[in-house]
């Protein structure tokens, strides 16, 4: 479904990503790991359309991916991805409204009733039905991310992008969130890209693990080379040794 061909991205003289060649099939669940600042979020932004490639191409179904966000690609950020002025239920209903044309995207009558029912079903799925009348600032961090996911899925995206969605959560809550995401990935038949800082997370979630790292290194000019995908591993069949070497690599990278 997605084909990345010799993709480069640089900001001014700083090369962030270089020479990425990879393709992704519908329904894959890819976790992206790598040292801080190596360009994982940048890669997601390219997929999302808020950044454009400096060189190379990024194809969705053989056509260049759209240069602005649209309903094909849903996103959940680490924070700020729900609307603070709407209650939990309104947040999810609004997602349905935004799918309509029109000036305000407000729903009326039968459409609103349907949207409300669908929103309630979705909230039930993510375990938020008892909080549907609360405003986001009343929610815990984990509940807020559940809401963000519910909202993103309401837009029926084909691709779901998650940028360290659980980075700010406690380990216990993170476990629950993993179960939720895996469950939704299967039931909604999504293609998922998830950035995480936790390598172990990457090793048992999903179907494929990408490690971003610099392929070449010049200590005199740290900006001259960007990161590429150094490991592209199918999850489930990997050697635990791999985990150690990758972990070593990431440590080295973040030390300098």
């Amino acid at each position: 479904m997605i084909d990345v061909k010799n993709l480069w991205k640089n900001y001014g003289n700083k090369v962030v990503l270089e020479g990425i060649n990879v393709s992704v099939k519908e329904g894959e669940f890819i976790t992206l790991v790598g040292a801080s600042g190596c360009g994982k979020s940048t890669f997601l932004k390219l997929l999302l359309g808020t950044e454009t490639a400096s060189k190379g191409s990024l194809l969705l179904d053989g056509k260049p991916i759209k240069g602005e966000p649209d309903s094909d690609r849903g996103i959940v950020f680490q924070q700020y991805s729900v609307f603070p002025h709407m209650t939990v239920l309104e947040n999810v209903i609004a997602a349905k409204g935004f799918a309509e044309k029109g000036i305000t995207g407000l729903l009326w009558g039968r459409k609103r009733k349907e949207a409300k029912a669908a929103a309630e079903r979705m909230l039930d799925k993510v375990g938020l039905s008892s909080s549907s009348h609360l405003y986001p600032h009343h929610l815990s961090g984990g509940m807020r991310q559940r809401l963000a996911i519910a909202q993103a899925l309401m837009g029926k995206p084909r691709i779901l992008l998650l940028d360290e969605p659980f980075g700010a959560l406690d380990p216990g809550i993170r476990k629950d969130m993993h179960a939720l995401v895996l469950d939704l990935w299967r039931s909604e038949k999504l293609t998922v890209f998830m950035v995480t800082h936790d390598l172990h997370e990457g090793f048992y979630l999903g179907t494929r693990l990408w490690v971003f790292d610099k392929l070449r290194h010049d200590p005199q000019a740290p900006d001259a080379f960007g990161a590429g995908i150094t490991f592209d591993l199918p999850v489930g069949q990997t050697d635990p040794k791999h985990l150690e070497t990758i972990e070593e690599n990431m440590k080295e990278f973040s030390h300098d």
Partner: protein, 273 residues
């Protein structure tokens, strides 16, 4: 004994401590006025409280002999009307300008420089032009207030729009929202409480321009009255008027603050989540 830095007043002492300066101020005034009136009963500079209440009694509760109007209330009404109209106009225009320039880069690029330049013009210098263009009627005064505070509100709203996390705007687009849906459903509702804040901050300036405009050309209004009776050194009218204006300013501020808490239950410190 704790350090001064760490000593907190109890809620009772807080009230007493807050009232104390007012009581001292009034006390000092009463004594000073007494001393002066003792020396010269016709002294006009520091009228006694009795003289002031008599003046207000005359202006607020007895019809004027010549016109039959209750001058104090006529003044209050016309001043508040001008202020409200001016502020309302500035707030609605400022909201639109700020929202559009803050949210749409193309609009921002073309309007931000001119707004900055306009905000540098001293509004009082425009007053003669306003009088020439709009005549000496209500319109010129309302326009002065509007022009006086519009740049501030517009720029404040622009900054507030840009402050809303971009993640929300991207999120709305991934849900299929078009430009107007993002403006109306995501940005506008989050700007309204911030608009009330901006209005509160600009009310002081609004009063300034109101009184200036009334002082120069008017036939009634709180500012007009103060400047009119100045000729007769009627401090017994001026002082109560100043206190009344201060009270009205306080009241407006308070109402706006309460309104904001009441209308926007989703608001908390920081605001976004």
């Amino acid at each position: 004994m704790k350090r001064l830095l760490n000593q907190q007043p109890s809620s009772f002492t807080r009230v007493i401590l807050g009232l104390l300066p007012f009581i001292i101020l009034i006390g000092v005034y009463v004594i000073a006025s007494d001393i002066r009136l003792e020396a010269n009963p016709n002294d006009k500079l520091l009228p006694s409280i009795a003289q002031m209440s008599e003046a207000i009694q005359r202006m607020a509760f007895e019809p004027n002999r010549r016109t039959g109007e209750y001058i104090f209330w006529v003044d209050t009404f016309s001043s508040l009307q001008r202020l409200m109209l001016g502020v309302l106009l500035a707030a609605s225009l400022g909201l639109c300008i700020g929202l559009l320039t803050g949210a749409l880069p193309l609009v921002g690029a073309s309007f931000s420089p001119i707004i900055t330049v306009i905000s540098l013009i001293p509004p009082l210098a425009l007053l003669p032009i306003l009088f020439i263009v709009f005549g000496l009627g209500e319109l010129a005064k309302v326009a002065l207030i509007t022009i006086g505070i519009l740049p501030f509100i517009a720029r404040e709203m622009q900054r507030r729009t840009q402050e809303i996390p971009h993640e929300q705007i991207i999120k709305a687009q991934t849900l299929g929202a078009n430009t107007s849906q993002v403006l109306i459903r995501v940005l506008l509702p989050q700007l309204t409480p911030r608009l009330l804040d901006a209005v509160r901050l600009s009310l002081g300036t609004g009063w300034l321009f109101l009184i200036a405009a009334e002082a120069i050309a008017s036939t009634e209004g709180l500012g007009y009255r103060i400047f009119l009776v100045r000729r007769y050194m009627s401090m017994d009218v001026i002082l109560p008027y100043v206190i009344w204006i201060t009270f009205l300013a306080f009241l407006l501020d308070w109402v706006l603050m309460k309104l904001k808490d009441r209308l926007f239950p989703w608001q908390r410190q920081g605001g976004h989540s």
